[in-house]
Symmetry: C2
Subunit: 160 residues, 2 copies
């Protein structure tokens, strides 16, 4: 099995509410919308986020709990702490709930959370140690921890 993820599907109670939030208010263009069944949004190269009728998803994939309790977060990366705050403000204006304001993280980044109308959690994040090269390869580097955070235990093995 290749390490490849093509679609993230989440179950929702009312697709019109989903459409109102993501398309009417946040302005997302649908890749496909089948009323009362599913909405697909393209959220990356070759990547879809599908909002599927919850009862139909459960019929296919098995019994399911509540969206808001799911131990899953959807990460939306941006280029600066100011952009994190701006996206959180935009999401709140669109009807999302801010569940954690933008916060300096111990690992050197800055992030906050909002939930969509079903309770799905988005993390809006600035990660100064993450970059994506021209081929789409993600490079993760350990960032010097913020002043308030823990200092990495491992000493550098490269002379300064």
């Amino acid at each position: 099995m290749q390490s490849s993820l093509s679609v993230i599907t989440v179950g929702v109670r009312d697709l019109e509410v989903t459409y109102a939030f993501y398309s009417s208010r946040l302005g997302w263009e649908t890749a496909q919308y089948v009323p009362e069944e599913v909405i697909f949004y393209q959220v990356g190269p070759g990547l879809l986020l599908a909002f599927f009728r919850r009862d139909h998803l459960a019929a296919e994939a098995g019994p399911m709990g509540e969206a808001g309790a799911a131990p899953v977060t959807l990460g939306h990366n941006v280029g600066s702490p100011a952009e994190v705050d701006a996206v959180l403000a935009e999401a709140a204006a669109a009807g999302g709930s801010i569940t954690a304001p933008g916060t300096q993280m111990s690992w050197g980044g800055y992030s906050g959370y909002f939930t969509d109308p079903d309770g799905y959690r988005w993390e809006v994040c600035y990660n100064p140690g993450l970059r994506i090269d021209a081929n789409g390869k993600v490079i993760l580097e350990v960032v010097e921890a913020a002043a308030a955070g823990p200092v990495p235990a491992a000493a550098s093995d490269q002379p300064g």
Copy 2:
């Protein structure tokens, strides 16, 4: 807010179990592994799947239910029904649980489900109506429904 998803983060109970399943048995290369904290895998251009210590994820993002109950599925697309069956067999051999065998779907595709050690559901799917162009744009077309499935209600407006 752009329609962009950079990271899917899921909470897990024991990262060593996660590593054993995805890396040791399925052969996935890690993008970053911080023992007892997080494992990142690259699962698409610019896209990460993060397995994060469940208690730490809950501390950051709020109270969470069980992985297996999450109304979320991770979609792994492949090129044919035979590949669906092969990936399901591979996942089962690696210790995953097949929760739905490969099945001809009413919408024209073929898919099955397995769960990972925490209970996260992967849908392994062949979708003949989905293609990705050279720029990574996803094109979704309605597929002629399978014989056993419901026939789309809307008549074609194009003369045959």
